[in-house]
């Protein structure tokens, strides 16, 4: 095999390996608002102040009755997402450096936002925590989607 042929093959492999990360269809319009509501609902449940007289057993049962459907919604979304995008990129393992940077940003953003919401929840009631979480989640998700698409476009261009 000629060196040029091998180089071309390795380049094609790199492009194909990047494909699950950079050839995704754009998220539907409802993605950010619905996930923002989901995060807001989760935060409200966690921060909910129970009125006096509700036993801890009832508190646990009611909390589960809200959290289980939310978890099921998330599971349904993951299943739908796999069908919609056709390929589910691996979270761990080698990936294009541009995408690795965006993943890093996502985890940092998630950690900072979670810490900020927990701090907020300590000083404001649940009916403030929920909506604030939803707004913060919406801003983060829309921003993340834009940054991700820019990174994906850079990878597509580099490996074109």
């Amino acid at each position: 095999m000629e060196s040029d042929e091998i180089r071309a093959q390795l380049h094609d492999l790199e492009r194909a390996e990047a494909s699950p990360y950079v050839d995704q269809r754009p998220s539907p319009w409802w993605f950010a608002p619905s996930f923002a509501l989901w995060f807001g609902a989760m935060a409200s449940v966690q921060d909910f102040t129970w009125p006096a007289g509700v036993s801890s057993m009832w508190q646990a049962l009611i909390t589960l009755a809200v959290i289980i459907p939310l978890a099921m919604l998330l599971g349904a979304y993951v299943g739908w997402h796999q069908q919609y995008h056709g390929a589910y990129p691996k979270l761990v393992g080698p990936k294009p450096p541009e995408i690795r940077r965006v993943y890093r940003l996502y985890f940092v953003m998630f950690a900072v936002a979670t810490a900020a919401i927990i701090g907020l929840a300590l000083v404001v009631p649940w009916w403030v925590t929920g909506p604030v979480t939803a707004v913060v989640a919406y801003i983060c998700l829309v921003g993340y989607e834009r940054v991700y698409e820019r990174a994906a476009a850079a990878v597509r261009e580099r490996l074109a």
């Binding site: 060196s3 093959q9 094609d12 699950p20 990360y21 056709g86 390929a87 080698p94």
Partner: protein
């Protein structure tokens, strides 16, 4: 280049050396799973051709097939098996070795 094969070509896996199968393996190497449709669009080949290529990989034990549903709404997806992942890594490394990049 490996010590066991002076030319290095012997280290290339004949099952996945075919360009379409190699491209399918490359896509699957970074995905938890990929659908038939996704692979078809990425590889830009016909349904029958993709079926043939994926059957060869399945027969070699390199990919696992998952079918969901029946009829028009049915979907088929693929994922690399452990043997497939090992074979792909080895093949990729052999290609790099041929360039003297290992």
């Amino acid at each position: 280049m490996s010590a066991s094969s002076p030319s290095g070509l012997e280290d290339l896996d004949p099952v996945i050396h075919a360009p379409k199968r190699l491209a399918a393996m490359a896509v699957l190497s970074t995905a938890d799973q990929a659908s038939f449709q996704f692979l078809k669009e990425r590889l830009q080949i016909a349904d029958s051709d993709l079926s043939k290529q994926m059957s060869a990989l399945e027969a070699a034990g390199y990919v696992a097939v998952q079918k969901l549903g029946r009829g028009r709404g049915a979907s088929t997806s693929f994922k690399l098996t452990r043997a497939g992942r090992t074979a792909y890594r080895a093949h990729r490394a052999a290609l790099r070795a041929l360039l003297g990049e290992d």
